[in-house]
Symmetry: C2
Subunit: 207 residues, 2 copies
């Protein structure tokens, strides 16, 4: 019972810290505000975390898990590589839309100044690059497409969507992402492959 | 002579502030550091600027000018609207690559928390939207292209390039931007228009 309560408190602190980082920025976030919004004392916060950097590091780890969860969900052998690519992007957007901890972790991981763990944008780049290499191996790409240029363009656009979604949540919506894929797929996929890729499909496991 | 020196000092302070904001972030930037890196006293800084927000506001205004300069340079009547679109993006990337003040101003204008002036990303959105509407009116767009989806995709990708260029300057290079346009133009332009658009051309006036 006591352990369960400790876990609940820890979760509330992580969530409160993520909300505070998103609202005020990491630098200006105060431990007193984080603990009071979680309904506990600063002493209780210090029982779970040595300092602000330790909370941030836990939040980043949670965002890294969200990214890997999205990537795993897209590993289905029943989909071709382009469908895996579009659906991993939807799954990741869903993680970011639904979870302030994932969002805050992504933002922290992009500011080299505060980052403690892996660079999640770099990890996303590698994920897109890998899926496009598989798409090439599966002979899905239109003739003029160079996988490297496609990787740069898709990583740029999805990163832009993530960043713009920060100020205006409509950017991170399923509709905006679908609009992007509908526009880009005709220049990415061979004409005969186009019909096999659903630009709206998300591989995120429905909660 | 005295006035010239005052202008030089003001310029040095703006540049030093932009560098400090880029290195430490706006919140952590210290006036003492900004003035000492500009080779003057904090008193001299206060002669030109009331506070940190006033310097930031000047930097944002300078970034807004850079964006408008790039947009103006792309208004040539000798180019079709798609060529104007690709070349305004190159011109803007050149402004951002070459000038820490433009970069810092763009970043400041994107953080609603510190913003004092116009939202430059919104202004960029309007610029892209306008050029794509002109491209449609000039009958340059491929049949399946909806200008709204193209605007969303191109703004997302160029914003991503700007943000990623923050951590790794290669993203803001002319080569990366050209790679993006080479990939995207075949799905944007009518086949017979494609040959009339040079994905590398920049309308930036050579300094």
């Amino acid at each position: 019972m006591k352990q369960q309560r400790a876990l609940r408190t820890r979760g509330a602190l992580i969530r409160s810290a993520a909300e505070t980082f998103e609202r005020c920025g990491y630098v200006q976030a105060k431990l007193a505000e984080i603990s009071s919004n979680a309904g506990v004392s600063v002493g209780a916060l210090h029982f779970h975390f040595t300092n602000k950097a330790a909370v941030a590091s836990t939040i980043e780890a949670s965002a890294a898990e969200a990214l890997r969860r999205a990537a795993r969900a897209a590993q289905s052998p029943h989909m071709n590589a382009l469908q895996r690519l579009t659906s991993v992007s939807h799954a990741l957007a869903e993680e970011l839309r639904g979870d302030v901890v994932a969002r805050a972790g992504f933002h922290l991981s992009c500011h080299t100044r505060h980052r403690t763990g892996p660079d999640l944008r770099q990890e996303w780049y590698t994920c897109v690059q890998q899926l496009l290499a598989e798409a090439e191996a599966e002979d899905l790409l239109a003739d003029h497409v160079r996988p490297e240029a496609a990787t740069v363009s898709i990583v740029a656009a999805t990163t832009g969507i993530e960043v713009l979604g920060d100020a205006d949540p409509r950017w991170l919506s399923s509709a905006a992402l679908t609009q992007f894929w509908r526009f880009i797929l005709p220049c990415l996929a061979k004409p005969e492959v186009l019909g096999t890729v659903d630009p709206e499909f998300s591989s995120a496991p429905t909660a």
